[in-house]
């Protein structure tokens, strides 16, 4: 029994089905990350939970109560908008106390709560500023404070960290997690950053074109993506299609092109059979590379190197004409155009049946 339950939720815009019969149960105090590319329906789901738009089918329930016919202003769902949506004609304090004043709370109580929440988001001393006088990061924290102070039953965060530079972003990630835990808020956070999703959430939901592709705990989704689509989202690359032509224990042979066969050992080889059409994938940082020929390594040629500060992205063209991407941290690399050897560790590679 979920605290927030979404049942066969569907939203259509003309011919486009933005959200296709989504089911999701979220426990009280749990934080779930919605992860997916632009336009896959994340915001639409949040807007249906908040009550701004009506679903074409399905229900949203909070604490066992169906919300479909309850207007947004009676739902007690706090929402953080991607563009903050602060009230431009009100100061920080007026923005934050808006919900408390509507509840006709006593002045002293309002003051106390506003001060507490502004402290929590580190905005002390900014109370009398107008939104336009604040930096992007500060505006964002006002929006967060405004949603938190109402003590919502459900908190919805729509890409709360997308417009921040990486330092502030990491600080805010820690803050959001801390506040969410402290106030035990049932939370959905939308993001398109897999690392943010796995570091913040108790569970991660990966969406594609209005549908859920996989739901799981961060480690599970990160390391064992259920489909090639999820894998790509979780940072896997080096997708290679082929057919299994031989199998012996853990050792398999995949024909990636006419007459081109790669040897690969795979820990879960027993799930596969000769004749299966498959897709192989591995993260670039899991690819092993070496300057000299080693046992189990295949040969290739460096076609491009991109220096990225703490590591180097190496593009390799294998001898069977496949592009392979590897990330190298500390090895002194040969030059572009020179020969290199690479291998896919048997526990890091994933092979999907097509």
């Amino acid at each position: 029994m979920g605290y927030l339950t979404i049942d066969s939720l569907t939203k259509k815009y003309g011919d486009l089905t933005a959200v296709k019969s989504i089911n999701l149960k979220i426990k009280q105090g749990e934080m779930v990350a919605l992860l997916g590319g632009s336009g896959c329906g994340k915001t639409t789901i949040l807007r249906m939970i908040a009550g701004f738009i009506e679903p074409n089918a399905g229900t949203v329930s909070i604490n066992g109560k169906v919300m479909n016919n309850i207007p947004a202003y009676k739902r007690n769902v706090g929402i953080f908008f991607q563009n903050y949506a602060l009230f431009p004609h009100m100061t920080v304090i007026e923005n934050v106390e808006f919900s408390l004043k509507l509840k006709k709370m006593k002045k002293a109580e309002i003051k106390e709560k506003v001060e507490y929440i502004l402290g929590l988001v580190k905005l002390e001393g900014k109370g009398d500023s107008y939104p336009r006088q604040l930096s992007g990061g500060q505006q964002q924290r006002v929006a967060l404070a405004r949603a938190l102070v109402m003590e919502p039953d459900v908190l919805l965060l729509d890409e709360p960290l997308s417009n921040l530079d990486s330092k502030l972003r990491q600080e805010m990630q820690v803050e959001i997690k801390r506040i969410q835990k402290k106030l035990k808020l049932t939370t959905i956070i939308v993001t398109h950053d897999q690392e943010e999703a796995v570091s913040l959430a108790n569970r991660v939901v990966i969406m594609n074109e209005g549908e859920i592709e996989q739901i799981g705990e961060p480690g599970e989704v990160f390391n064992h993506p259920a489909h090639p689509f999820v894998a790509e989202f979780m940072g896997f690359s080096n997708f290679m299609e082929g057919k299994i032509v031989r199998k012996e224990g853990k050792e398999i042979q995949i024909e990636v092109a006419e007459g081109k066969v790669m040897n690969q050992s795979y820990d879960r080889a027993d799930e596969l059979a000769v004749g299966d059409a498959v897709v192989l994938t591995i993260r670039p940082e899991a690819v092993l590379i070496s300057k000299t020929e080693e046992d189990g390594y295949a040969q290739g040629k460096i076609v491009n190197m991109t220096y990225k500060g703490h590591n180097t992205m190496v593009d390799i063209l294998s001898s069977f004409n496949e592009k392979v991407q590897a990330i190298n941290v500390d090895m002194v690399l040969p030059k572009e155009g020179e020969s290199i050897y690479f291998a896919f560790p048997s526990d890091k590679v994933i092979i999907y049946k097509k």
Binding site: Y73, F81, L86, R146, M150
Partner: protein, 266 residues
């Protein structure tokens, strides 16, 4: 880099010329209104307040006309603020097929010659006995000044972020509270600047009013036209001077309460 100095000079010259074009008639009117002679001469010959006294003379109807015009302009403007704001919100917030058509319809009275419009209105209302002259002119003004309010309001609403209203709703505000606490305060400067233009247009309007007027209800511009048919003295200049002073006072008040920035931005 282009030559800044030359461009600066050119801009300054054009600005000065523009100011002179705008200010010269006003200055002439003010000077003439204090002129001692009946025939309008320039430069003036002697100083006098008699034209001002003339406005308030016993048999003069200028004060009545002024009060009628104010009443008319206020009622028409208030009415149009309500219609204009609601109509602008409905065409910007919701998307539907005939949206563009509706917007052009709302602003179309701006492009109809007022003499033609006044004629049509006269024909249509001639047989309607229940309509007093005030109501007839009011209907005319409500229609012709609406575009000024709608254009200004639409201007701000087309870039309005409706998620702000959603945010207010999620924080517990019902639709009425959202409108009065969020939407209206945000669009208020644009609505008021449109309302000021509409008010001044209605107050100044002579064509429709003179077609629909009657002895019972005459506006100030109509009164002035009637007066000028028989007399041609600086009384009219004195009235204009007073009106300009009132307009200036209105502008200063607006500036104080909503800022002239908002007026010029639209």
């Amino acid at each position: 880099m282009y030559e800044k100095k030359k461009i600066n000079w050119l801009f300054k010259l054009i600005t000065v010329i523009a100011f002179m074009i705008i200010l010269a008639p006003m200055i002439v009117i003010v000077i003439v209104s204090f002129n001692a002679t009946e025939i309008i001469t320039f430069p003036p010959q002697g100083l006098s307040m008699k034209w001002y006294a003339n406005i308030f003379a016993e048999n003069s109807k200028f004060v009545d006309g002024f009060l009628n015009s104010v009443k008319l302009a206020i009622v028409a403007t208030l009415f149009d603020i309500v219609i204009g704001v609601l109509a602008s919100i409905s065409v910007t917030k919701y998307s539907f097929k005939q949206k563009g058509l509706l917007i052009s319809l709302f602003t179309s009275p701006m492009f109809i010659p007022s003499i033609a419009f006044g004629f049509v209105l006269l024909q249509m209302t001639a047989s309607m006995r229940i309509l007093t002259p005030f109501l007839k002119i009011l209907i005319g003004h409500i229609i012709i000044i609406l575009p000024y309010i709608i254009r200004n309001t639409l201007g701000i609403l087309t870039s309005y972020d409706w998620t702000i209203d959603d945010a207010a709703a999620s924080l517990g505000a019902n639709p009425v509270k959202v409108f009065f606490k969020i939407t209206l305060p945000i669009i208020k400067p644009a609505v008021l600047s449109g309302a000021l233009l509409a008010f001044l247009y209605s107050f100044d309007e002579a064509v429709i009013s003179s077609l629909l007027t009657s002895a019972k209800f005459t506006t100030l511009p109509v009164q002035i036209i009637n007066y000028m048919e028989f007399r041609f003295d600086p009384t009219v200049a004195a009235i204009s001077t007073i009106l300009m002073a009132i307009s200036l006072a209105l502008m200063i008040l607006m500036d104080k309460f909503i800022g002239l920035d908002a007026l010029t931005k639209q």
